[in-house]
């Protein structure tokens, strides 16, 4: 699934969700920085992670609660630089979500694709 446009590939994994806003933004910061360094970057949202991508969540929470930028700002900063966002179906089911509940552009993969991405990454960083 890596496009191969960059020599360096980093896969971030986000397991925390909307009930823990303080853990919501850092993967997006780091992914945006990596993309700015011309790395190819993906973030895989599993366990509670997919709840961060809900259309009705990204404008309501941010890493500092009511202060500062909403999560949408950090998401769009990353995606505008080419960062791809991935979820898996069991994690959608865990959180009673469907792909339609999430912001546009999220891709669904499964365990085999995740492991293939991980095995072919230069780094896998999990939060």
């Amino acid at each position: 699934m890596w496009a191969g446009d960059s020599e360096t590939k980093i896969l971030y994994v986000q397991t925390h969700g909307a009930d823990d806003p303080g853990r919501s933004a850092t993967p997006f910061y780091l992914a945006a920085s990596a993309a700015a360094m011309e790395f190819e970057v993906m973030i895989y949202f599993t366990m509670y992670g997919p709840t961060l991508l809900r259309k009705d969540v990204v404008d309501k929470i941010g890493p500092k609660g009511d202060q500062g930028q909403p999560l949408r700002y950090f998401v769009e900063q990353a995606t505008s630089l080419g960062v791809r966002l991935l979820v898996c179906q069991p994690s959608l089911e865990l959180n009673d979500l469907s792909l339609e509940d999430l912001i546009d552009g999220v891709e669904v993969i499964g365990g085999a694709a995740f492991n293939d991405l991980a095995a072919s990454s230069d780094a896998v960083i999990s939060f």
Binding site: T8, Y29, L30, A32, S33, A35, A36, M37, E38, F39, Q77, L81
Partner: protein, 82 residues
């Protein structure tokens, strides 16, 4: 790092007051608007900007010409290479 005659910048990018990762992100976007050989001058107050821009330049292959600091403001000159 200092150099006797710093080249004049072709474009100035003011990131003072902006926190990580914005100086890196905006530099990456701004450098694409220059042609190879032109120089970007980044102004930033993020205290981590020096190691960040060294890493960014090293990874992207652009030339970091110099970093100076006056008061809280870092002035970073980068020449676009490719």
């Amino acid at each position: 790092m200092s150099e006797p005659s710093a080249p004049a910048a072709d474009q100035v990018l003011d990131c003072t007051g902006l926190a990580c990762p914005l100086p890196v992100v905006k530099t990456a976007q701004a450098i694409k608007n220059l042609v190879p050989g032109q120089v970007l001058e980044l102004l930033a107050t993020d205290p981590g900007v020096e190691p960040d821009m060294r890493a960014w330049s090293s990874r992207t292959g652009n030339d970091l010409l110099g970093i100076t600091k006056q008061d809280d403001v870092f002035r970073i000159l980068i020449r676009r290479v490719n």
